[in-house]
Symmetry: D2
Subunit: 346 residues, 4 copies
């Protein structure tokens, strides 16, 4: 079987494994204070043009979301997010398990927009704050979103300025950030993101690493004692160097962007062909996730050879399927898929 | 000013204060194990025709909701409720603060219905349960709801049977239960509620008591160690007899129902007159909360003498106002309000 | 049976009940914003000579402890307390349920002292803070303690200054504060306590009220959004006036101190007689709790008529018993107890 | 510098890295449901002679402790442990952050014994359970402990039987389990541990793996929905195969035991020499952690070339140092250390 269902079906970029091999018997101190982590932090701060940022490495996405949110919020504060947001749907209530409410906004494209967020903030704080409700103190977005859509620079800046108006934090979940940054429709840079958020992270798990997420904190209010939060949430890896080595490799010479660009090339190739085939996209996603409506017969036929992700029924005869590319996607597999699709679709 | 904005603007039924006076220097043991609590428990079990139920007394509604929900759910489980549910909106995220997600269903009348609840349960458990999502283990409803609407016996039974199908608990918040039971449209009895829920409570705070909610647990799974939960949530009153005395007084001879009936008579009187006046109700509520759309000029005029609760803008010229009656509502005040309304509305 | 086992066996001072009667049908707004609460706040601020303090009313002790601690601490911070502290032993892990560790100090007299507290703080912050451990950010004491002992002004000042040195908060649980203030050995005033703590509370439940604790916050860092914390922890009484009326009555003309003084007179009378009888005290408590070692035969004999609180075995032939007086203790009952003790002890 | 300060200064056994390389571009499904995880589970169940056990893989120790404890306990339940237990001291209050109290027993050797545990359980449940206290429902031990000491089979069995008597769970933290099993003084087997605990884990991070802990659940009560707990606590690795591959490699032919045996040989060599040198051990530890009192001058001299872990002042002239060996310890480094010690100690 050939997997296109998600972007974490392979290991890591070979250069990462080589570096792990090479350094395997070096002795280092633990918990992220080793020299690989130091170097990786420096590379990332440079890439973000944000020398005063704090950079921390965590293991996975849910852990990172929860750690950042719990570090930022007091017990009675909540986080605004899309109803479809990862924290609201796919983290087994981890944010709530730390005591915080997800204050949701319905969304069809995975994004949330300034007017709806403003409505929540302005209503809550109309008379100095309504203590009978969870206080909205953070806005969570992901870029790309769960549906592969991305924020423009203007949108991000708008949300950030709104947050500043109400004393809220803007947090960007970048589990798939590389793919967002390298997609054609994108007008954001890493340094824009560092400028227009209070905290964000650069996903490694889905973009070339074995695992790992790099949290970048630019707001000074969120910096103190962050390592306590990491430790308490079980995210402080004893052999922290494993994270350092991975991000060092990904950021020392732009490998992160290169592997993401590859994924985007593969996605574009698929998207173009599907457009040619007359297929309908259920979401207008410009990044590495493609949501396409396929006849049930086609879905069945393809499932003999490929694993795509079922995303929901469209109508009696069609099903929406998610096709993901990644840093590891082989062009020969893409070609095979497209050729098979051509055969069954046309 | 005359208050019609809510149902907790006065103290308690005089018989309760008299009983407190009378027993004031009696010495009793603490924490709800005294003889007044014992008697009150017996009266309530009889009223529910549920001799095997466990009955506990807590101080207030938020505390009771949180205690019941936290007692019933494991760390990864959530509670299904209306988006407008009290636990979701007006408890400052207390349920989440105990670690549990509110899994919400949009609602215009404050109620949730079997199909939407089934959708959530069946989707979650389709393949044995999706561990990436909070597990729906409880359904929370209130009767009357936040919008004064009530459940029919058939609806309650339907929800209960659905819950049993999926191993979930049905919890009914009865903060205003008396008013629900005594309203004309109601076909539920206390014993129906005991039969078709796993746990519910009988609100005292809004129905004749100074404060206090009586939790009735009929599902054996929820009974063990419930007092640990009360204590941990700060709900175990040292002088537990204060709760015992109040519920003893309310239930020894049906006072609870009598005072609720009075509130409903007053509400009916208002509702009828408003109908006569041609006023539009924004919610078709049959209980002690009346939601009526009034011209802004009328709202302003009435506000000189009465406190009504602003509930939301209807259009440029109208505002929805909530008018509440209670056990303590004086008929002369109702008459004054209606007479003033007649003057300004007609 | 005559109860001396604890200080919450009766209702409330009659003047409180009278005031409740008198105001019963007044209509007031809810949640502690009514005029009785306002007045009570003013009286208390004056009694504390602390006009800039924030005063809030909660229902019970556990709830108050948890609310204050949770409001003050971030997720990774803990509270230093005596191993015997109420929060560590008798609140069903409520502080932990809100996510915070009790960092304990062994104690034989219920108090904690500057050197042990300093040891914890200085060790933790030796190298800027050890993120593998819960960060000690608050010191919790009770006055009187669980064992009836009290802090001197010098001790309180010492702890407070130590806290300031390390950026920690000092929180004083005053569930029995009245008895501490009125006992002969005491050299603290309410205003000393306001000066040398960051937050404390004045207990009503055990000192003349039906229920209620008045939290006094003097540290500005702890003031913002405190009402969100009260609400989330289920402590915001709908009919907040019930608390306002009680504290208004207790503090408008010093009733709080008068009723506490009565309890202390009764305690002194017992203590003196027991000393005469040659009884041994297991704790040198100067306040309303008396811990005395009694021969098992005496315990048995007294138990026919009196309820004392068993506190622990002393040796094969003796058991330590707690005898409590309170605002409600009748002198005739004290005399009866002492006369019966004289009979069986001598 | 040569590090002897802890047992996680290197990467992983080379066979693990090779296997990661070899499988790197295989496509597998995520979240621990791949075939490597399946195989690893089978190997471990065989090694434990416990075919009905559930085996789960998590990333690190703190995360594993918290996940297991939170999965097993209800909101009001606590876990008994040594005061020096890792969960009580070195996890930044993670157990409390999930709402559970650590009920501690003072310990000088890192172990807890049946009488003290019985005291807590029997006291709590004396009258059916004291709801004012956190309910002790689990006993947590580590083997080896924080101080390198180990439990005998008789001790483990005794604790387990005590737990069964009171309906409590026995949980063994095996972060260093390999070293415990392979030390000379040990009389426990993996299958004994599976038999006399309800849940335990086999540490990989410190015993040959890059990271990873294998949880073995034998008690059926603890099995349902465990994956929800893993996910909620951020422990469900997207590329779960990384854990599967590591444990597959460690358990397919006994590598886990071999590498642990090597560490123990190195530790024995050091221990014997130190004994010869007349050094005093501050703890009688039989496993891979050696606690030795060294003259300050010796500590200083050694620190030029070696990193040992300072463990606490012994007296004015001596300091206790921890020396750790591990699967990766090179005999040449041990020899160098011993030779340098000989020089400075004798």
């Amino acid at each position: 079987m050939i997997y296109f269902n998600c972007d974490y079906t392979e290991g890591a970029h070979p250069r990462i494994l080589e570096k792990l091999m090479e350094t395997n018997f070096d002795q280092t101190i633990g918990y992220g204070m080793d020299e690989h982590c130091e170097k990786a932090r420096d590379y990332i701060k440079k890439a973000c043009k944000s020398e005063h940022a704090d950079v921390h490495f965590l293991v996975g996405g849910t852990q990172t979301n929860v750690t950042v949110i719990d570090a930022a919020l007091k017990a009675y504060q909540g986080v605004i997010c899309a109803e479809s947001g990862h924290i609201n749907v796919h983290e087994t209530g981890a944010v709530e398990a730390c005591g915080h409410k997800c204050i949701t906004i319905p969304s069809t494209d995975g994004k949330i927009y300034e007017p709806e967020v403003r409505e929540i903030l302005s209503t809550h704080f109309a008379n100095g704050g309504d203590e009978h409700m969870a206080q909205p103190k953070m806005v969570y977005i992901s870029n790309p979103t769960e549906l592969g859509t991305i924020y423009s620079k203007a949108e991000l800046k708008g949300l950030y300025e709104l947050c500043k108006e109400y004393g809220a934090y803007l947090f960007l979940d970048g589990a798939r950030l590389g793919y967002g940054l390298m997609c054609k429709a994108n007008d954001l840079t890493l340094s824009d993101i560092a400028e227009y958020t209070d905290v964000f992270y650069i996903g490694g798990t889905k973009v070339g690493a074995l695992f790992g997420e790099a949290v970048v904190i630019t707001n000074n209010e969120l910096k103190p004692d962050f390592r306590y939060n990491i430790k308490q949430h079980g995210g402080m890896l004893a052999k922290g160097r494993l994270l350092g080595i991975q991000f060092e490799t990904l950021f020392e010479d732009g490998l992160y962007f290169d592997v993401a660009a590859h994924a985007m090339n593969m996605a574009e190739k698929i998207r173009e062909k599907l457009t040619e085939f007359g297929a309908e996209f259920t979401v207008a996603s410009p990044s590495n996730q493609i949501f396409v409506s396929l006849p049930n017969t086609v879905v069945e036929e393809l499932s003999k050879k490929y694993v795509l992700e079922p995303w929901g029924k469209v109508d009696e005869n069609h099903f929406a399927m998610r096709i993901c590319t990644s840093w590891a996607t082989k062009e020969e597999n893409v070609d095979a898929l497209l050729s098979d699709m051509e055969r069954v679709l046309l």
